[in-house]
C-alpha cells in the first residue's frame, strides 16, 4: 500500500494534501484560459494516476457542479469538485495561473484551482479536503506563495511546508461547517425587533447575545406563535371562529413593550463548541429536533450551521 492509499483508507481523517497529490498532478502557471479545458487537463492528470474512473464522466460531473454554483472558496481560489462512484480514494490536482482563469457566469478569475475527486460514498472525504484547504487559506501568504511558485515541485513544497503547522486538528469540526450568523438580537431588544428580524432574514431561529457577544438564548418564530396560541387555546376543537386573528391582537398592541425574554429559549437550543467534530452538530440538531445549531468559542457566538447547509455539505457538495 502506497502513501496515497493509506490516506484514502484512513478517511475521514484530515487531508494531508501533500500526500494526496504529487508534482505530477500540478499544472504550474498554466496558459489554459478556459475553465472547461482546464477541467479536462486536470482530470487527465488524475486519470493517468488512477485509471479506475471514467474521465469524461468526471469532467461532466465537475461541469454540472460548477454550473449549479461556482466553487470559489476565497477570492481568486476555486475548488471544482465531484463525487464519483468509481473513484476509490480522494484525488486532488492543482493548477496555478498568475493571470487568472475565468470561472462561472461572471468570469471571475481564479488564480489557484484545486480540483478534487472523491468517492461518492465517503462524504467526509470531500469535507476533509475543504476543511484542510480552508485552514491553509487562513495562513495569510499561503495562496500567494502557491501561485508564485514557478514549478510543480515548488507548488508541492508549499503545500508540504504548510502542513507542518502543528495546530491542524485531525477531523472536520463544527467551525469548518459554520457560516456567520445572519442576524443576532440583543437581550435588551423587544419582541417587535425579533419579529422584524425574522421577517427580514427569513430565518426562524435568531440567536440572542449579551453585550460581550456571548450566546444567551435563541428567539424563535415558534415561540412567538406559542405566545399567541398557547397550549390552552389549542385545547379547543376549532379556532376558525377567530377569523380576525384575535389571539394575535394582544401581542400586536404590546410587541414593542414585550421583553424578548418572553420568547427566548435559553435552554433547549442546539449549540456545540467550534472545535467539536462536525458530527456533534448533527447530533445536537437531531436531539433538539431543530434545524439550526449555534457554534460557540467559549460562550461567544462564532457561527451557525443550518440543517440545510449540513445536508448540502455532507450529501451534495
Amino acid at each position: 500500500m502506497n502513501e496515497n492509499e493509506k490516506t484514502a483508507s484512513a478517511a475521514p481523517q484530515t487531508l494531508d494534501s501533500a500526500a494526496v497529490f504529487t508534482e505530477d498532478e500540478v499544472l504550474c502557471h498554466t496558459k489554459i484560459a478556459d475553465a472547461d479545458k482546464l477541467f479536462e487537463a486536470l482530470v487527465g492528470l488524475l486519470s493517468a494516476r488512477d485509471p479506475s474512473f471514467d474521465p469524461a464522466a468526471a469532467v461532466q460531473a465537475i461541469r454540472d457542479r460548477e454550473a449549479a454554483s461556482p466553487t470559489f472558496v476565497a477570492p481568486g481560489i476555486a475548488m471544482p469538485h465531484a463525487r464519483l462512484g468509481d473513484v476509490s480514494r480522494t484525488l486532488l490536482a492543482v493548477a496555478t495561473s498568475p493571470d487568472g482563469i475565468p470561472f462561472g457566469p461572471a468570469g471571475e478569475p481564479a488564480r489557484l484551482v484545486i480540483l478534487v475527486l472523491t468517492p461518492s460514498t465517503a462524504p467526509a472525504a470531500y469535507l476533509s479536503v475543504v476543511a484542510s484547504i480552508s485552514r491553509l487559506l487562513r495562513q495569510p501568504t499561503f495562496a500567494d506563495e502557491v501561485v508564485a511558485a514557478e514549478t510543480a515541485t515548488g507548488v508541492e513544497a508549499v503545500f508540504r511546508g504548510a502542513h507542518r503547522d502543528p495546530n491542524l486538528p485531525p477531523y472536520v469540526c463544527a467551525a469548518d461547517m459554520m457560516g456567520p450568523p445572519v442576524a443576532t438580537l440583543r437581550e435588551t431588544d423587544s419582541v417587535k425587533d425579533a419579529i422584524d428580524v425574522i421577517i427580514r432574514t427569513g430565518f426562524t431561529n435568531i440567536p440572542v447575545v449579551d453585550k460581550e457577544g456571548d450566546l444567551v438564548g435563541v428567539a424563535t418564530a415558534q415561540a412567538i406563535l406559542g405566545i399567541c396560541l398557547p397550549e390552552y387555546l389549542l385545547w379547543m376543537e376549532d379556532l376558525s371562529r377567530y377569523s380576525s386573528f384575535e389571539p394575535f391582537g394582544t401581542l400586536l398592541g404590546k410587541e414593542s413593550s414585550t421583553w424578548l425574554a418572553d420568547i427566548t429559549d435559553d435552554e433547549t437550543y442546539a449549540v456545540v463548541a467550534a472545535d467539536r467534530p462536525a458530527i456533534a452538530v448533527a447530533e445536537a440538531m437531531a436531539r433538539r429536533k431543530t434545524n439550526v445549531c449555534f457554534v460557540t468559542d467559549g460562550a461567544k457566538l462564532v457561527g451557525v450551521v443550518t440543517l440545510k447547509r449540513f445536508l448540502h455539505n455532507v450529501f451534495r457538495d
Binding site: 398557547p230 397550549e231 390552552y232 387555546l233 379547543m236 376543537e237 394582544t250 404590546k254 433547549t268
Partner: protein
C-alpha cells in the same frame, strides 16, 4: 450499588424481584394459620395481588399486562370463576367514568377550560398570594367536578403559562397544584375513582353524591385550608418572587397571555346541568323506585350520549381519545383481584385481625385505617389499597355498625396519603411526567417527601379530627 446500564437486565431484575415478592407474599400467607386453614386459592390470590403492587411500583407501562396475566392465573386456578370475574369488574363504575371522561372531552373541545384559565391569567390586580390562593382553590374544586387527572392537566397548563411568562421555577407551583388536587379529589363522589368505589360499596347502605357533599366536602375544604397555610410558609420565597414579577408585569400593563372572546355560557350550562343531574340521582332513584346509585351511572351516560348525538362528528374522538381506556382496564382487573381476595377469605382474616387489634373502637380504628391507607397509598396506587380494604371495612362495619365513619377514614387516608410521595397518586405521576417533558425537570424523591410528609400529616390529622368529632 450501581444501577445496571443494560435495560433488558434491569427488566429481568425487576421481574425477578416481582416473582420473589409474590412468592414471599404467598409463603407468608401460608404461615398465617394451620395448613388446613390456608388454601391454595388464598395463596394464589395474595401472590397475584403482590405481583400487581410490584408492577405498579416498578413498571407503570407493564402493569396492565401483569394484571391480565394475574387474572388469567386466578381463573385457571379456580380462585375466581368466570361469572364472578365478570361481575367483580364493576362495570357500572367503569361506565360512570367513561361518561364523565366523555363529558370532559366535550367541555375541553368547546373551550370551557380555556375560558377558565384565560380568565385567571388576565385577572386584574393579581398578586402572588392571590394567584396561589386561586391556584389551590381551582386545584381543589376541579377534581370534584371532572376527575383528578383531567384536573391536573388543566391546572398545570395554567401554571406553565404563568411560570414561562414570568420566568419562574415551576416545581413549587406544580407541587402546590398536585397536593391541592389530591385533597380536592375527596370533595365529591366523582373526584377520584376511589370515591366512586367507596360510595357504591359502602355498607349498610351505599353513599350518594349528596352524602359526599354533606360529609366529605367540608372536611376537604378544611384540609385544603390547612394545607394552603402550610404551603404558603414552605414556599414563601417562590411566592414572593412571583409577587415581584407580577408587580413588574402589572406596571408594564402586559397580561400573562392572549385574551380572546370565548363563548363559555354553553359550556357552563352543560357542566352545571350535568352536575345537577348527577347530584339529583338519589331523589330520582327514590322517586322511580330504582336500586341505589342506578341514576349515578345513568346520568353521566345520558349526558355523554346526548352530547355524542349532538356532536356526532367528534363522537369517535371522545370515546377513543378522551376516555382513558388504559386506566379503566387496569381498574377492572384490580377490582377482580380484590374480589378474589374477598372470595378466598383473605380479607376476612385481615378484617378480624384489625377489628381485634382495634377492639371495635372508632377512636383507635379511624386513625389506624387513615394511617394504614395513607402510608400504603403513598407507595401504591390508592385504588389498589382501597379496593383491598373495602371488604375489610365492610366486615368491620357488619360486626359493629357504629364503625360506619370508617368509610370516610378510608377515603381520606387513601387520597391524602397520595401526597406523601411522588408516586402516591396518578395525578402526581402525570405532573412529574409533564414537568419532565416540558422542562426536563426531575423532582427528587426526597424533595417531594419533605413537603409531602408534612402535607400528609396535616391533612390526615384534620380529617381524623373532624371525622371523630363529626360522627359521634
Amino acid at each position: 450499588m450501581n444501577a445496571p446500564k443494560n435495560p433488558k437486565r434491569l427488566v429481568a431484575i425487576q421481574f425477578a424481584v416481582m416473582a420473589a415478592v409474590a412468592g414471599l407474599a404467598g409463603w407468608l400467607t401460608s404461615l398465617l394459620g394451620a395448613p388446613a386453614d390456608v388454601t391454595v386459592r388464598q395463596v394464589a390470590a395474595v401472590s397475584v395481588f403482590a405481583c400487581i403492587i410490584c408492577a405498579t411500583l416498578m413498571f407503570e407501562e407493564r402493569r396492565l399486562g401483569v394484571a391480565f396475566v394475574g387474572i388469567s392465573s386466578l381463573l385457571a386456578l379456580r380462585v375466581i370463576s368466570l361469572s364472578d370475574f365478570v361481575k367483580s369488574t364493576e362495570l357500572h363504575i367503569i361506565l360512570l367514568l367513561v361518561g364523565m371522561m366523555t363529558l370532559v372531552g366535550v367541555l375541553k373541545d368547546i373551550g370551557l377550560f380555556t375560558w377558565v384559565i384565560q380568565s385567571i391569567i388576565n385577572a386584574r390586580k393579581m398578586t402572588g398570594l392571590r394567584f396561589v390562593a386561586i391556584l389551590m382553590l381551582l386545584s381543589g374544586i376541579m377534581p370534584g367536578i371532572v376527575d383528578e387527572v383531567t384536573s391536573i392537566v388543566f391546572v398545570l397548563a395554567l401554571v406553565f403559562q404563568v411560570c414561562d411568562t414570568l420566568k419562574l421555577r415551576p416545581t413549587p407551583f406544580v407541587l402546590m397544584s398536585v397536593m391541592a388536587t389530591n385533597i380536592g379529589s375527596t370533595g365529591t363522589m366523582l373526584g377520584n375513582p376511589v370515591g366512586i368505589l367507596i360510595g357504591t360499596k359502602a355498607t349498610p347502605t351505599p353513599l350518594s353524591f349528596g352524602d359526599f357533599i354533606v360529609h366529605a366536602t367540608p372536611i376537604m375544604f378544611l384540609s385544603l385550608a390547612a394545607t394552603f397555610l402550610l404551603l404558603l410558609i414552605y414556599y414563601r420565597k417562590d411566592i414572593k418572587l412571583l409577587d415581584e414579577r407580577l408587580a413588574e408585569r402589572r406596571a408594564s400593563h402586559i397580561g400573562l397571555g392572549p385574551m380572546v372572546p370565548i363563548p363559555h355560557k354553553r359550556g357552563l350550562a352543560i357542566l352545571f346541568g350535568a352536575l345537577a343531574f348527577i347530584a339529583a340521582h338519589h331523589p330520582l332513584e327514590e322517586a322511580l323506585h330504582l336500586e341505589p346509585n342506578t341514576m349515578l351511572v345513568a346520568a353521566p351516560l345520558t349526558i355523554a350520549g346526548l352530547l355524542m348525538v349532538f356532536r356526532s362528528h367528534r363522537a369517535r374522538h371522545y370515546v377513543e381519545v378522551s376516555v382513558e381506556w388504559w386506566s379503566l382496564l387496569f381498574f377492572m382487573m384490580l377490582f377482580a383481584v380484590s374480589a378474589a381476595l374477598e372470595a378466598s377469605g383473605v380479607t376476612d382474616v385481615v378484617a378480624d385481625q384489625i377489628a381485634t387489634e382495634g377492639a371495635a373502637n372508632k377512636y383507635l380504628l379511624t386513625p389506624l385505617i387513615v394511617a394504614i391507607t395513607a402510608v400504603g397509598s403513598a407507595f401504591v396506587d390508592n385504588i389498589v389499597f382501597v379496593s383491598t380494604f373495602i371488604p375489610i371495612v365492610k366486615e368491620i362495619v357488619a360486626k359493629s355498625p357504629e364503625m360506619q365513619p370508617l368509610w370516610w377514614a378510608l377515603l381520606f387516608g387513601a387520597c391524602f396519603g397520595g401526597n406523601i410521595t411522588a408516586i402516591g397518586s396518578t395525578a402526581n405521576l402525570v405532573a412529574i411526567s409533564m414537568l419532565g417533558k416540558k422542562y426536563s425537570i426531575k423532582v427528587a424523591f426526597l424533595e417531594w417527601l419533605k413537603i409531602g410528609l408534612l402535607v400528609g400529616l396535616v391533612s390526615c390529622s384534620v380529617a381524623v379530627a373532624v371525622v371523630l368529632c363529626y360522627f359521634k
